[in-house]
């Protein structure tokens, strides 16, 4: 059997290779085609909203769709403030954990901790939402003396927690991929361990760490269930840092809460799709920025090395 197959492969290598190449190519292009089609669908469903609702109304700060108030700014603001909060939490904790795992922890501890962190990433978000509702938000209310613990802060903390496993896992891979010779060279010229980590290893893994953070942000901005359960969903336009302690309503929670109710092709329906496209564009911007920064860094690194 094996020898027959061998002969078969040897006799017709071009055809087989062509098939495999074509399949791989199709798989690669399909992702682009899917994204394009989704974008087109969102665009077609959301464009009528721009005709039906005046721009000044869309850019107002009141969201109350059952009475025809379609101001989307509070929703965009809500998503942004929670995502920024989540990033501020996930960045130091995630990268810190990754540095510890990759550079400091002994091998056996790392082999135990990394799968555990990844299990954290697999926690269903509705479970985190429950914890947030029953434990975190009452605790925040008494600790910070807030009117209610259902706030942007509770959302940020939980989303930070959701983003951390992504950040840790990818950053750790990036740090691990830095050649050992870099560290050896640094230690050999008399740098301390900390100086080596901070000045040599981390900068060398910069693009991977940045990708990790961006993916973490992407995970946070698209999260729905948790934020719907813990942020209170009051559409208040955040204007400053103090609004981190008050309730907010995110774009994702709005779509999730209201999409089931709207009549097909109503104004409300089109506006919800418009919110979907705004969300889509924001994640696109985050990703494009990330790859642009990574690309520029790679080029400058190549210059230095050559």
């Amino acid at each position: 059997m094996i020898s027959k197959q061998d002969i078969g492969i040897k006799s017709k290598p071009p055809k087989r290779e062509f098939l495999v190449t074509a399949l791989i190519k199709a798989a690669g292009y399909s992702a682009i085609i899917f994204v394009g089609m989704i974008f087109l669908f969102l665009l077609l469903e959301s464009l009528p909203a721009l005709r039906e609702v005046e721009l000044s109304s869309l850019l107002s700060s009141r969201w109350y769709p059952i009475e025809g108030y379609y101001g989307v700014l509070p929703l965009i603001g809500g998503s942004l403030i929670i995502t920024i909060g989540a990033t501020v939490i996930a960045l130091p904790f995630g990268v810190g954990t990754a540095i510890y795992l990759s550079e400091i922890a002994p091998r056996w501890l790392r082999d135990t901790l990394k799968p555990l962190v990844e299990i954290l990433g697999g926690l269903p978000s509705v479970v985190l939402g429950f914890l947030g509702m029953l434990i975190l938000s009452p605790y925040l209310r008494t600790l910070l003396d807030l009117p209610t613990g259902l706030s942007a802060l509770a959302g940020s903390i939980l989303l930070g927690g959701i983003a951390i496993p992504t950040v840790v896992s990818i950053s750790e891979d990036a740090l691990d991929a830095v050649p050992k010779s870099y560290r050896d060279a640094s230690l050999a010229i008399g740098a301390t361990e900390w100086q080596t980590i901070w000045r040599v290893t981390l900068p060398a893994a910069r693009s991977g760490v940045l990708t990790a953070v961006m993916l973490g942000i992407g995970r946070a901005i698209g999260e729905t269930m948790t934020v719907m359960m813990v942020t209170g969903n009051a559409p208040i336009l955040p204007t400053g840092l103090k609004d981190l302690f008050s309730p907010v309503r995110t774009m994702t929670a709005t779509i999730a809460a209201e999409m089931g109710e709207v009549a097909n092709s109503s104004t409300h329906y089109h506006v919800l799709f418009l919110i979907g496209i705004i969300l889509f564009l924001i994640s696109l911007i985050v990703n494009v920025t990330a790859s642009a920064v990574v690309f520029r860094q790679k080029k400058s690194q190549e210059r230095i090395l050559s």
Binding site: W108, P115, A234, A263
Partner: protein, 303 residues
């Protein structure tokens, strides 16, 4: 030392055949269940969806009715009155539950989609105003509740309570209870009144969310169907005007019209119900089914 990893692999190795075993057993169960019961073409399926206020009641009815009529299969889901009516219009359910009357826009959409919603009053419900047990406030007038929810009153001391900020809780806008509360309480039943909920009102996706927050937050005020009130929350006595007596919600005070925040609960069918759907609706309106209404804390319709 790759002990944890190998353990992990072991778990995967063991769990895979176990999982397939469970699936096989489950499949066997459903298979035998079908063959032991009635053949599949005799089973009549009724899809029932809508108001979260009614969902427990509809489930209790469905369970009881399926025992009495094994040939009928009822599937009951919640999601909100608007969701149910939208599903009826789109033709995905047979009966929509609603805790508010169908809106004129919904009737228009229905007609466009060749659907003809038919209304049946199935029970009555009182909306209880609830606060934390530690809140010293016992009574509020409708005008005070309206002022609280529209954002005019922001501290409990303005209505005789402690010096605490008021945290307003409401159901999401797709809830029939939300729409009813807006019309009858925030706007005091006045069609000309265009007052809205204060923007700082928390819109919670479930009755559960409101209950959880009320139980632990002494600043909070909320509203919910009487059937959802537990003894871990405090029910407020409500007066229609400052001159009227304060009334607590109960079956009696709803039926004699004294409690001001009470409403009818509805089921909608596509056109006048026929066949086995009519049988089900008729049973719901019978004295036997209305007893379940009382058990669940709602108010039965009295003929």
């Amino acid at each position: 030392m790759s002990l944890p990893l190998s353990q992990y692999n072991l778990i995967v190795k063991i769990s895979r055949p176990l999982l397939s075993l469970v699936i096989i057993i489950l499949a066997g169960c459903t298979g035998s269940g079908l063959s032991a019961g009635i053949s599949s073409d005799q089973i009549k399926i009724i899809e029932n969806k809508g108001s979260d206020t009614i969902v427990n009641l509809a489930l209790a009815w469905a369970e009881e009715y399926q025992v009495l009529n094994p040939s009928v299969q009822l599937s009951v889901t919640g999601g909100g009155s608007g969701t149910g009516i939208a599903a009826l219009i789109n033709g995905t359910v047979d009966i929509a539950n609603a805790s508010r009357k169908i809106k004129s826009e919904e009737i228009e959409t229905a007609l466009e989609n060749n659907s003809d919603p038919y209304e049946i009053v199935i029970a009555r419900d009182a909306i209880a105003i609830i606060v934390n047990l530690a809140n010293p406030v016992d009574y509020l007038t409708l005008q005070q509740i309206s002022a609280i929810y529209s954002g005019e009153i922001n501290n409990w001391k303005e209505v005789g309570g402690e010096d605490r900020p008021i945290v307003r809780l409401s159901r999401e806008t797709n809830s029939g209870t939300h729409v009813y509360f807006l019309d009858e309480v925030v706007r005091l039943g006045d069609d000309e009144n265009k007052t809205l909920f204060s923007q700082t009102t928390l819109l919670l996706p479930s009755s559960e969310g409101i209950g959880t927050e009320i139980k632990q937050n002494p600043n909070a005020i909320g509203y919910d169907g009487l059937g959802y009130v537990t003894h871990e929350m405090k029910v407020i006595g409500v007066a229609s005007s400052p001159d009227d007596p304060f009334i607590f919600p109960s079956a009696e005070s709803v039926n004699n019209g004294e409690y001001p925040i009470a409403r009818d609960l509805y089921m909608y069918t596509n056109g006048e119900p026929e066949g086995f759907i009519k049988d089900y609706i008729d049973w719901i309106l019978s004295a036997e089914a209305q007893e379940i209404v009382t058990e669940l804390g709602f108010v039965p319709i009295t003929k």
